[in-house]
């Protein structure tokens, strides 16, 4: 089988989209290390894959939000995220465990204290999103989650950026009205 190697720049480009082959490459190349880490840190491997998947999502988010610009190797950074998540997991079980890595280096802020309540609420509200038009959903996701600029969204949707701004606010106001009463 041909062994493909990517440069850091290629990886960053592929992560941002994200490209399936790049995600697969990162996964395949780091999975043994993640399993070993899980065994060392957590004492078991039953959550290794879940944690690794979440770490890949965090990596994509941080690249999109320019929190990781490739100053270190992508794999090194990815493994740091995995380690961070594993120690966070451990902290949930053992309150006295100190996190042996610097959170600021990773730029992954702590989970909010009411996270479980919040997620329950968001799960309940998911269907509200479907009451928005497809275009509204896409626009809001591009803007908020994918951190795309107004110009990028305008190009994608074939609108002017000023119209996109107005439309974004309209969509948000509509969604705000849909979730009113749940705050």
């Amino acid at each position: 089988m041909e062994v493909v190697k990517y440069s850091n720049a290629d990886l960053l480009k592929g992560i941002k989209k994200p490209e399936e082959k790049i995600i697969k490459y990162l996964y395949d190349n780091n999975l043994p290390k993640v399993i070993k880490m899980s065994s060392d840190i957590l004492g078991h491997t039953s959550q290794a894959e879940d944690i690794f998947h979440e770490a890949l999502v965090t990596l994509i988010e941080n690249v999109r939000h320019n929190k990781f610009k490739g100053n270190s190797q992508v794999s090194t950074y990815l493994i740091s995220i995995v380690k961070f998540k594993m120690y966070n997991q451990l902290k949930k079980i053992s309150k006295h465990k100190q996190l042996p890595i610097n959170e600021e280096i990773l730029d992954i802020p702590s989970l909010i204290s009411d996270s479980k309540d919040r997620i329950r609420l968001l799960e309940r509200l998911l269907e509200k999103l479907t009451e928005l038009s497809e275009e509204c959903q896409l626009l809001l996701q591009n803007y908020y989650y994918e951190n795309m600029s107004m110009n990028e969204i305008a190009d994608k949707l074939n609108y002017s950026s000023s119209f996109v701004r107005v439309k974004k606010n309209r969509c948000m106001n509509k969604l705000k009205d849909l979730v009113k009463g749940f705050v």
Binding site: I23, H44, E49, I60, H65, K176
Partner: protein, 282 residues
């Protein structure tokens, strides 16, 4: 105060973190004094969190698909410019999804790797694998003259009572061929006592339980972890190595060959003879 003085752009700029520190402080002060404005901002934040939550959920599925895994999404949204949300699946569901993922992997590897159709791997496993219970007792007897499986708490070896009862339960289950029960107890043991006294023996029997359950990829994963660890018991290491070779039998036979060849060359290996017989068959 009336929120009319704030145009919508200002509220969105606050929401998107685009205000200067001074503007931000002024806006927050205004929110403290204006409940209607604060309420509106809270609602917009919830709307934005909802968009991010959906986005993350979708991305997690994309990642799972790209890595060849499917299943329900576990979401934990980190607090980037937005809020942070975390959720966890119930343990049984998580274990189930991992097991399912590995089943998919096993199915995939079944078709990916070249196989010799003349080899009846099921028969080979039946011929060459016999579950060995003695290691646990040999190993654990060294920790206590009374033996590990002693029910009398006063005669128990080192480790906390909870720790000992849990591992003891697991090993009793193993002796009764209750693989699923043993697996659950051992996963529980390793989770509850990540730095416990018996993690190494627990790992070996966990791998062995996966093997007996026919979950060969999980067995391989756990045998590999054990063999890469500093665990010193040579008897168990050699058993793990041999069983690792057997685990590959129905997945990638070349791996089995490689491992059995190494064992067959080792005159001090407890499973040398069995390895030689296996090599004759494959």
């Amino acid at each position: 105060m009336n929120n009319n003085k704030y145009n919508e752009e200002k509220i969105y700029d606050y929401l998107d973190g685009k205000l200067t520190d001074k503007e931000n402080d002024a806006f927050e002060l205004e929110m403290k004094q204006d409940n209607k404005l604060a309420q509106k901002v809270e609602e917009l934040m919830l709307a934005r969190d909802l968009v991010n939550y959906k986005g993350r959920k979708k991305l997690l599925n994309t990642v799972k698909e790209a890595t060849g895994k499917t299943g329900s999404s576990t979401i934990s949204i980190n607090n980037t410019s937005s809020r942070t949300i975390a959720a966890s699946k119930t343990p049984w569901l998580r274990n189930f999804s991992i097991a399912a993922s590995f089943l998919i992997l096993i199915s995939a590897t079944y078709f990916l790797f070249p196989r010799d159709s003349n080899i009846d791997t099921g028969q080979m496993l039946a011929d060459f694998h016999s579950t060995n219970y003695s290691y646990a007792e040999d190993y654990l007897n060294r920790h206590s003259t009374s033996g590990f499986l002693d029910d009398n708490p006063n005669n128990l070896p080192k480790g906390s009572k909870e720790e000992i009862f849990l591992i003891s339960d697991a090993l009793k289950g193993f002796k009764l061929n209750k693989w699923q029960f043993t697996k659950e107890k051992l996963v529980n043991y390793n989770t509850s006592f990540p730095k416990g006294t018996y993690n190494d023996i627990a790992l070996y029997y966990l791998a062995n339980s996966y093997f007996n359950l026919g979950q060969y990829m999980l067995a391989i994963e756990h045998y590999n972890i054990l063999l890469n660890s500093k665990f010193e018991n040579n008897q168990i290491r050699q058993a793990a190595e041999y069983e690792l070779g057997l685990s590959w039998l129905s997945i990638e036979i070349n791996k089995t060959k490689e491992i059995m060849e190494s064992i067959a060359k080792n005159n001090s290996h407890l499973h040398q003879e069995q390895a030689q017989l296996i090599l004759e068959r494959i």
